[in-house]
Symmetry: C2
Subunit: 675 residues, 2 copies
Amino acid sequence: MSDADDALVVFTPSGRRGRVPLGTPVLEAARALGVDIDSVCGGRGLCGRCQVDLCEGSFPKHGVESRAAHLSAKCDTERTWERRRGALCEGRRLSCSARVLGDALIDVPPASQVHRQVVRKRAEVRDIELDPSVRLYFVQVREPDLQVPASDLRRLKEALACEWHFGSLEHDIRVVQQLQEALRRGHWGVTVAIYDNTRIIAVWPGFQAQVYGMAVDVGSTTLAAHLCNLQTGEVVATAGRMNPQIRYGEDLMSRISFIMMNPGGEQAMTRSVREALNELTVELASEAGVPVEAILEATFVGNPIMHSLMFGINPVELGGAPFALATDEAIDGLWATEMDLVIHPNARVYGLPCIAGHVGADTAGAILSETPYLGEELMLLVDVGTNAEIVLGNRHRLLAASSPTGPAFEGAQISCGQRAAPGAIERVRIDPLTLEPRFKVIGCDLWSDEPGFDTAIGPCGVTGVCGSGIIEAIAELFLAGVITPDGVVSGALAEQTPRVVADGRTFSYVLYREAARTLAITQNDIRAIQLAKAALYAGIRLLMERYGTDHVERIRLAGAFGAHIDVQYAMILGLIPDCDLDHVTSAGNAAGTGARIALLSRKARRDIEDVVRRVEKVETATEPHFQAHFVEAMAIPHRSDPFPRLRERVSLPVSDHAASRRGTGRRRRRQRQPG
Amino acid sequence: MSDADDALVVFTPSGRRGRVPLGTPVLEAARALGVDIDSVCGGRGLCGRCQVDLCEGSFPKHGVESRAAHLSAKCDTERTWERRRGALCEGRRLSCSARVLGDALIDVPPASQVHRQVVRKRAEVRDIELDPSVRLYFVQVREPDLQVPASDLRRLKEALACEWHFGSLEHDIRVVQQLQEALRRGHWGVTVAIYDNTRIIAVWPGFQAQVYGMAVDVGSTTLAAHLCNLQTGEVVATAGRMNPQIRYGEDLMSRISFIMMNPGGEQAMTRSVREALNELTVELASEAGVPVEAILEATFVGNPIMHSLMFGINPVELGGAPFALATDEAIDGLWATEMDLVIHPNARVYGLPCIAGHVGADTAGAILSETPYLGEELMLLVDVGTNAEIVLGNRHRLLAASSPTGPAFEGAQISCGQRAAPGAIERVRIDPLTLEPRFKVIGCDLWSDEPGFDTAIGPCGVTGVCGSGIIEAIAELFLAGVITPDGVVSGALAEQTPRVVADGRTFSYVLYREAARTLAITQNDIRAIQLAKAALYAGIRLLMERYGTDHVERIRLAGAFGAHIDVQYAMILGLIPDCDLDHVTSAGNAAGTGARIALLSRKARRDIEDVVRRVEKVETATEPHFQAHFVEAMAIPHRSDPFPRLRERVSLPVSDHAASRRGTGRRRRRQRQPG
């Protein structure tokens, strides 16, 4: 130990260092040196958030001899905390209680850092720096004094200025209404929630340890929500439920129609979605063992119509051209009570901004999650639903459009189509020689040609084909030569295989047949998928043209469709442009992740608000080139685009056009179809 | 007319001048030259607020030859406006329609100035410069365009930036919820209300001409409210009603007791006062022929307990030491719906700040009205109620205190006392020779010794004595020598006059006697008044002592008591310190006037917030000198203060002390009582 009256303290991982007087609490030393250590209780040994590790030994790199004896022994406060919350590991101390008695190397573990990184599972995306809007602060407030009259609020603000260095703070009237009782019940110690470093929005008597937030993805079909601990970024509960608006219409347009036919219907829809969300909230809170009043923030994403209805805006204008949004700004700092939410009444709500009439806050969420705006790489981000939202760009430029794919990719408009649910065929392979299929159904790990499949699929059996199953079936039929690049089922094959059957003037391919049920891919089914994929591809192509490129470097497929689809088949069918297949991946529920990022990071909110403002909106409906792109994209994979990277991996049948140009196509295709 | 392609325009009263191109609309010229002309419609000839007068003639002082022909002839817009709203006077024009065709001298009448002065009736107070928080702006918004997608809100803000030069504006979510319908119903023309130049708080389709505000004084006994046109400052309706909280207790302390005995009682009281206010609001609006939704602002004053209950704050802490206020800041920008008010749901509420636990927002209002903080003169401002609020100071220093006078001045605790109402004696004179009284009652112009009095007072007759009557009665009794400076009714006089009668061990003075009713001033009544006035005077003296003065230059008496009392009698009794009587005047309902000033002027709000922060709060209850001052002040007018200025006007009986010092007092007094 040094003989001096001060000592050297070095903090890792920051590397900050300096001499402090002997006896200084480690937390105070850290603050003096600008080291980031969390604390809610302000160094009173209540919250336990300021834990640090003393590193024992010689550290020539840091020039410090660090010994256990260089920190004071555990004091009563620390022991009391351990009795209440469990013993600290060897070498770990509450930095507010441990005092510096000599040179020391002190490590601040991630959990004790205010601005810690929230680790995301996928390797390709950045971690989030935790920086929530709402933070808790415990303060001990001076008692009122008849001689020096100052209101309770004034003395609270003085305490916050003195202990936490808040300059001038605003406050909600509701805090004033609750303050006096809280101060007296807490014996002048209260915990306050401060929003955005500027405004006191809640107060509790005594020490309140935890604060939560909720990230909500309002889909047309489902509501999905994460409950997060705002101090750790951790997701403590996740839940979903159907959007009860479905009773007003399955898809968005039928809901708009309902409103147009039933004035005031928008209010009923707003009520119903908010009620469902409140049920979901209670479920989340109960799952996590947290009172709903501990939820101080909520963030929302949704397509423009869901977003409008959630925020009480009539969406009828989004039902027709010119598709004017009420607002394309973020909805910021709204009181939860304005939305009738059951969380803390003073909680704040943040809605990510919508981008355009057809490109919603869900797309903004996906952009925030996938961050195309940060890199040099040209990224294509696609979220396929009833409409496909398409984003293309990089840090220099970002374009967005929506393309009316219709619901075919979700199994609607398909004769054998169904939602992705147990019993639905999701994977399909077709033998190019025998033209016989094999497949997998959701809820069963076996392929249909494996032993035990019939029993493994259970009594319900095979019930239909979901979106990814249809994509694979059609792509495999194309690879096997059953359908032409123009999408026509070759009737000639009916002679070679009982799978190809006449269906009026066209032909179908029978994927599955049993006593009760026949599942066939009809010519109409193929047309429906062609129309959908042509719309998607044309939209993408339009953005690429606008950007001035004919090649994208990375493709991210967001949403449930993107998560279930096999990207190779998607590319064979020509849903997406040619790209190195290793660079084509699912982004999961990127919109929901965006909502969660916005919940955890104020900076992310400002980022996405800036980005959305810069996005170039492209209206596919009125773009003259769209129609030409659409027609070209009807072919499988495409009438003119060569897909060279795909061809390196997959041997595609030669297209009619290419074949006729080369004069060999038809023959070659026939050669590949030897029954 | 000049041959040049521009012309000289001179505006009065500002004197601003400059050359503008021929053909420039006068409104545009005015704006270019920084002349203050009002407009809501932005120069579209809708609002008629921009009227100006062309001054015809030669004006060598301004160097201008101004002719009628130097403005363009009336155009269709102007004629349409005249058809709708009535012909403009000779020479008067809509400045948005009249164009400059030659040199012109143009007068902007007060009604056309944005920052016009609101004239106050009393000579001694300053006019208010009109500058309300809420102002209306009409804009024509660009229609939505599929090619250039921008939300309705964004295009609205663009229009506000372009037409009215608003930079970045915030907005209420409710505006977003109403915007799309308003724009379409108004054919893309909407009027918005902008709060504090920073936030859009309401939107209406088309042109909306008028916006109102409400100033409310929440008294323990009565609610009083003014409805004001925020564009002119004019009071368009005034109304009052009982505070229904009276059912929970007559005075403040009994209401606090009710809450302490009935948990939740504060909520019932909050509800009841808000309901009464809403009834009052409907009455005001209907009287003025204005829809309640046109009321976009409300300001409030009240004593700390009324203020708390109105704003939903439990006032129990104000019921006992240390009398801690929940907040001593202004309540600013609160949504009307947070207070369940029936005015426009997006209206904003402003509550003037309370100063200390016993010195409320009503005192802040009185300070704002009387502006002691502006002058050099040392002003004493007193508002007498159950407590007396006392403010002393000038621009250098301001002190405030509350003194517990009790309700005696309001006629309570007085045997013959009653509220100021028809039938109550309000003026009293006592003949020093005969000791016979004469008096006036409220509701009758005749003195009691004038012919016809008995019939003029009507069937109810004389029912009691109100506060000002008691003050006068006791002061006259003192002047007539019936009571000593110590406040004792001289029993010896019972031999000289039947008016003085024994009442147990003390004596009373019979002011009025008829078959049904005897009204007498008892010894107890006099004691009650002495206690009250001693408390008031001691509080004043304490502030004077703290300030370091023994003389005030001006005394302003606020409230109903101040309006009815004869200041000379108040001084004779020693309620207020010696002062030139010409400088002692009633301030009327200064608190309510303060609320109205805060309604009309943003600057006034900032002023009073600053002033209140600077006020030195003096707590009379714990001040050691208070008791000594109190004892001295029990005497009439005072045991030791000489009241030289009063004595110049009124011959006061020599006090016992002074008399005994001079050895002549008793004799002299006896000489003045010759029955």
